[in-house]
């Protein structure tokens, strides 16, 4: 019963005579509450405070029975999404077990507040069916037969195969494929040490579109919005309820709104965020860029843009020179040209494309203009991930920030890197020097990043094979489009020599592994993490809390699995051990990067680094942390082990305006080009005068009377073959840091795209590309609809929550949202079964009829529908997760796959009594299996939205049925592939060197072979893109 609740007379009498319990007023705990022994609950029902960190190691709290219980509180960082919020584990000192998990108030991002997924970590730890020991397959791959093995056997087998592969110069046949990284640079360092281009990720089914759009502006590929200080917030996301990093972001959006800020949301679905917004713009999927450009035209026409910022920080001169060389190069000309280019994007045009009325679009545009540099925006990842050409959505969104001078301002939107901690690592290896064409193939020079979605088709096509394939917290069979093609690739032992699944939970991809290696949840592992949650920089420490607790009370622990349940380990120590064993004698040059930075053996030999030494080194490099630790009379490592997080800086704004030392202009090989960009020649410095130098030793007036002297050189467009390094930008005669783009400025015009063959203004400028699901392509009369399969539920973790009883109880199915008008048209009502037909198959699901979605669409949450196959005869039961995984029959003939649910969710016997109390029966429908691959020809983003046909289910259709023909998926892959504009680009480059890529090979002239088409590919054979499929 809550605070301030008054009993009625009837209740009082009923309690007195014993008909009701007295828990409303008279429990032991409540009696204690009125005494001085414990802190009472504050007046308005809010907790007065968190336990003081000084008391964390020795805290007494009272049970609901009133009994005192002693705890040691150890912080860690949540791993259930990418936000890395702070958690505080309560370790019962009597049993030595984690009893509950709450928020860590010392964490600068989450500030003690968490979403449901954080505290639900306790379910994952105590999951009665979790994988506790390393498993090796015992039968054909995918047969469901498993045998328990030791970590030593695992390490020796894997290390042997990797050693052989690397020694045979086939290093790129080793791939580490990560779903949820949860760390900063740890694996980059390991992979660089192995010397292979072996990093693959989930980025191109997640954020490649949005990243590409931001990158073309300024290389930084993500936004960091300062919501708390914003006057107007525009979201193309559901950040109050889901998306990265929704919990810390939602807190700050609310702060901004409480301070008078307003919120507008573009979303075809009435999300919880849209429902809280001042303006909901339910846009037709794919029309977002048209709406944003219409807003831009309002800002331009009504002169609501910030002239000073645009004039100084946008590459408009380059744009005029390249595209309108006959026009006068003045800012007024630029503005007139903008009006000309965007003339078609009137609010009325945007209204006709989007279905949102023109007045609302104009109103929101004016609000953005009035908010000026206090206009914040975010996209994650919605429209940019759903539509072909979606990368133009984030690009046009950022255009509004550029026009209003809201780039890097207080209340505006900064580049993410400004608010992200970059660790310095021990024994850093040199950067790897290979290029893996199975990850960044020539067809996608602008991919952001690895074309992971296409891996099964590349393997099928014969582009190469994998000797060693690690999947780590990565479940493409369930999460990716066309999971059956992934199964086909994974069970082919000629294509994938060995598949090792590192995962804390059973998942559909692990069923097709050779080894399933149990890795820890957030309180069972080491990592550091930092995210751009606000205008500051922090780092948090994820630690195995039971190990930390045991060490605090005197235990001596060598490996984390000694303190974790069963043999559950962690990746950090695993990779150190594995790397050490790959290079037992040090010949491969790998082992030296895993030597201790602090110790050596008695005879002077290097010894293996411990995980404590690794993090000790990282934290010791951070000056602010050193000072803080000194204040607390401890070491940086001990400080962060106790507090769990550290704020490195706050309120970082306008870093592009950081003044440079004017002396830089006098350095050798440094010059300023015709756009004010400060550059340094790279490579041969003896021959720098033949490239259009117009004047030397220019004298420029300087505000305080000092005269700066520097070389001014006119670079002749694309003709120059010489490379330069960008050092900064001259603004009003002063050298400033600028942005890491090709001109140091915001790239309104992308000369890079023009040089690489995308020379139409639809690509070189922020523009509107009609989506593959534009209404022009949909035959509504014939039952076709647009399918939006991407929205998230706030209480689910992609494919890692089916073992969480709390989260599954809250949400466990994914009915199809359908507007009442469409339901009437199709004769559907809530609960009716429908069959949704995609390009490669169909699934059967039930309908939820609602007016919270735009008519003409259907939508489904991208969670739910996890499955396992019932194979009771193995030594170890595969699949687990009785709280959330349905049991299916799998049927396969050639390229045709069928799946039917044979059992839903039901109570089961286990060590957890709650498993017998399961009341829900539904586990949802695995929709992604039926999606065809849609790689955007430019960004490489998988375009999730689809044109589908929806019809009432037939008598033979059962809930959850799936049918797919993977040969059709392959055809569609080839179709989309044919729209690409493959490398080589200028100078036979694979990719513009200034763009980011993971674990990039060195770009410096002389060390940059990998960047060229004929550079090393780390395989014995090279795929010929010009030949027909299958040619090697």
């Amino acid at each position: 019963m809550g605070h301030g609740y008054e009993l009625s007379r009837i209740e009082t009498i009923a309690e007195r005579v014993g008909l009701l319990s007295e828990r409303s007023t008279n429990t032991v705990k409540q009696q204690q509450g009125s005494s001085d022994r414990i802190t009472p609950i504050a007046e308005n029902g809010r907790l007065t405070d968190y336990p003081d960190p000084a008391d964390w190691h020795d805290l007494v709290e009272y049970d609901s029975s009133g009994e005192p219980r002693e705890y040691s509180l150890v912080p860690t960082a949540c791993f259930n999404c990418e936000a890395g919020c702070g958690l505080l584990t309560y370790i019962d000192t009597e049993s030595g077990e984690i009893r509950k998990i709450e928020g860590n108030p010392e964490h600068p991002g989450s500030r003690g507040k968490n979403c449901a997924k954080g505290p639900a970590t306790i379910n994952q730890l105590t999951d009665p069916q979790r994988i506790l020991h390393p498993l090796k397959r015992d039968g054909p791959r995918g047969s469901g037969q498993w045998t328990q093995v030791s970590w030593n056997e695992v390490l020796s087998d894997i290390a042997g195969r990797m050693r052989e592969t690397i020694a045979d110069d086939r290093g790129n046949e080793i791939t580490y494929h990560v779903g949820r990284p949860g760390h900063e640079d740890y694996m980059d360092r390991v992979i660089d040490a192995w010397g292979v281009d072996g990093h693959n990720s989930h980025t191109n089914i997640c954020s490649a579109g949005a990243r590409a759009g931001y990158s073309f502006w300024h290389k930084y590929d993500r936004p960091s919005a300062d919501f708390a200080n914003a006057e107007f917030i525009l979201l193309l996301s559901a950040h109050l309820e889901s998306g990265h990093y929704f919990n810390p972001h939602a807190q700050r959006i609310m702060e901004g709104m409480q301070n008078g800020g307003e919120l507008a949301v573009l979303d075809p679905r009435l999300s919880n965020t849209a429902a809280m917004a001042d303006y909901w713009l339910p846009t037709q999927p794919g029309s977002e860029a048209a709406v944003l450009l219409a807003m831009a035209t309002v800002l331009i026409d009504e002169e609501l843009y910030d002239r000073e910022f645009v004039e100084n920080w946008v590459n408009w001169q380059q744009f005029l020179d390249e595209e309108y060389p006959d026009r006068e190069r003045t800012f007024e000309t630029y503005i007139r040209t903008l009006q000309e280019i965007y003339a078609q994007f009137t609010p009325e045009y945007a209204a006709s494309e989007s279905g949102v009325d023109a007045d609302t679009i104009e109103t929101v545009a004016r609000k953005i203009g009035m908010a000026g540099h206090r206009y914040a925006s975010h996209i994650w990842r919605s429209a940019a991930s759903g539509n072909r050409g979606g990368w133009q959505v984030s690009r046009t969104l950022h255009f509004l920030s550029v026009l209003t001078d809201a780039v890097g301002t207080k209340g505006g939107t900064s580049p993410n890197a400004w608010h992200k901690f970059t660790p310095q690592l021990p024994n850093e290896p040199p950067r790897q020097t290979l290029w893996d064409e199975l990850q960044l193939p020539p067809e996608y020079p602008f991919a952001h990043y690895e074309m992971s979605e296409l891996l099964p088709y590349f393997l099928k096509e014969g582009r190469g094979t994998l000797s060693m394939y690690f999947t780590r917290v990565f479940n493409p069979v369930y999460t990716y489009p066309d999971g059956f093609s992934w199964i086909e690739a994974l069970i082919d032992e000629e294509k994938i020599g060995m598949h090792v699944a590192l995962t804390p939970t059973w998942n559909e991809t692990a069923y097709f592994a050779d080894y399933v290696l149990p890795m820890g949840h957030s309180p069972e592992r080491h990592d550091i993490q930092s995210q751009e949650t606000h205008a500051g920089t922090w780092v948090t420490y994820r630690q195995p809390v039971l190990r930390e607790y045991k060490e605090r009370v005197g235990a001596d622990i060598e490996y984390t699995y000694e303190a974790n349940p069963g043999d559950v380990w962690e990746e950090d120590e695993f990779w150190i051990e594995l790397s050490w064993q790959i290079d037992t004698d040090g010949d491969l040059g790998i082992r030296e990067h895993f030597d201790s930075p602090y110790r050596e053996s008695a005879n002077g030999e290097p010894v293996k680094m411990t995980i404590d030494e690794y993090y000790r080194y990282v934290f010791e490099q951070e000056e602010g942390l050193q000072e803080l630790a000194a204040e607390h009379e401890t070491t940086p490592l001990e400080y962060i082990k106790h507090y769990g997080a550290f704020q490195a800086s706050t309120n970082e704004y306008a870093l592009h305006e950081t003044p440079l030392d004017p002396d830089i202009l006098n350095e050798e090989c440094v010059f300023v080009d015709q756009y004010g960009t400060i550059r340094r020649w790279l490579g041969d410095s003896n021959n720098q005068t033949d490239l259009g130098r117009q004047s030397a030793d220019s004298d420029r007036g300087y505000d305080d009377g000092v005269t700066l002297k520097y070389d001014e050189v006119t670079l002749n467009g694309g003709s120059t073959q010489r490379e330069t390094e960008i050092l900064g930008v001259m603004v009003d005669g002063e050298p400033k840091g600028g942005f890491p783009s090709p001109t140091g400025k915001q790239q309104f015009y992308s000369k890079t795209l023009a040089d690489w063959g995308w020379d139409d203004p639809e690509y070189t400028l922020p523009h509107y590309l009609k989506s593959h699901v534009h209404p022009e392509n949909i035959d509504y009369e014939n039952g076709e609809l647009v399918f939006v399969p991407t929205f998230r539920l706030p209480t689910q973790i992609h494919s890692r929550s089916s073992n969480s009883k709390y989260l599954e109880e809250i949400s466990h199915n994914n009915p199809m949202w359908m507007h009442t008008k469409d339901a009437d048209r199709l004769g559907c009502e809530t609960g009716y079964l429908i069959r949704l037909e995609t390009e490669i198959g169909y699934f059967v699901n039930e309908v939820w009829v609602t007016e919270s979605i735009k008519p003409g669409l259907v939508a489904m949450s991208h969670h739910m529908g996890q499955w396992k196959v019932d194979r009771a005869d193995g030594e170890t039961e595969e699949g687990g997760d009785g709280f959330g995984k349905v049991t299916v029959d799998l049927d396969n003939q050639d390229s045709q796959w069928g799946m039917r649910q044979v059992a839903g969710i039901s109570p089961f016997e286990s060590s957890d009594p709650d498993s017998e109390r399961i009341w829900w029966t539904d586990g949802g429908v695995a929709q992604n299996l039926t999606h065809a691959p849609h790689p955007d020809p430019l960004s490489g983003m998988h375009c999730w939205h689809q044109k589908v046909r929806v019809r009432p289910a037939t008598e033979d259709d059962y809930y959850g049925d799936i049918y797919v023909d993977t040969s059709q998926a392959f055809e569609i892959y080839r179709e989309w592939l044919s729209d690409t504009n493959p490398a080589p680009g200028p100078n036979r480059l694979r990719r513009p060197k200034w763009l980011k890529r993971p674990i990039a090979p060195p770009t410096e002239p002389g060390e940059d072979d990998a960047w060229y088409m004929d550079g090393p590919v780390g395989r014995n054979e090279r795929w010929n893109t010009d030949g027909p499929p299958g040619d090697q």
Partner: protein, 230 residues
């Protein structure tokens, strides 16, 4: 009453906590008020049975007792109307005529039931019951017309009424609620009066009136719930 009580308790999500409704009452809710009304009426009837067993006929038939009984019976019959109108999302249930309609339906149901008892040996009940039944059916018809066919204030109420008269409930409403429930009983009652006697015809009217009420209530309760709230 016992059967009603059992059904109401069994329908709760946590039947074992049914007593919480009474003992931790939320006086804003007509669920609670109704529970008390039913309990009071049930208690009253139990006392009557007790009095009858003890042979206190004078007390049972005393006008004050009957008046109290009539009051409690009326409250039991109509409280559901107030409970329904607390379901703010169901526009059709917001009809102000609902308590009167519930009362009328109670008269119809009561008339039909006591008329059947009249046929089963309680002869004195027969004539007044038939009059009550006929009168009740006429008022019931008028109220249906007023609740279903007059224009509604909101789109959802209009839609619910349309679903009853022209949509998926059309057959149940017209054949069951109106035809079997009102038209045929009135016709049979008329035949029974004109022809004099014919107990089987009268019994037919009683049974049909009861079945018709069920059909009408089915439409009235389900139809508004088929409209999506969002």
């Amino acid at each position: 009453m016992a059967l009603t009580g059992f059904l109401l308790v069994a329908d709760l999500e946590r039947p074992k906590r049914f007593h919480w409704v009474l003992l931790r009452p939320n006086w804003q809710s007509w669920l609670v008020k109704g529970a008390y009304i039913i309990t009071a009426f049930g208690g009253f009837l139990a006392l009557l049975v007790l009095g009858w067993v003890l042979g206190l006929d004078a007390l049972i038939t005393h006008s004050t007792t009957l008046l109290v009984g009539a009051g409690l019976a009326t409250a039991t019959a109509v409280y559901t109307a107030f409970l329904f109108s607390q379901s703010k999302g169901r526009d059709l249930w917001q009809s102000p005529a609902m308590p009167i309609h519930m009362f009328t339906q109670a008269i119809v149901a009561g008339g039909a039931t006591t008329a059947l008892l009249g046929l089963a040996g309680f002869d004195a009940l027969l004539a007044p019951s038939r009059i009550a039944l006929a009168g009740g059916l006429v008022v019931h018809a008028v109220l249906i017309a007023s609740e279903i066919f007059t224009p509604h204030q909101t789109e959802d109420a209009e839609e619910a009424a349309a679903r009853i008269t022209r949509g998926r409930f059309e057959r149940v409403f017209w054949l069951g609620g109106v035809g079997v429930g009102i038209g045929l009983p009135l016709l049979l009652l008329a035949v029974s009066v004109v022809m004099g006697g014919l107990p089987a015809v009268g019994a037919g009217a009683d049974v049909m009136a009861l079945a018709g009420l069920f059909a009408y209530e089915y439409c009235w309760i389900i139809a508004p719930q088929t409209i999506s709230l969002a």
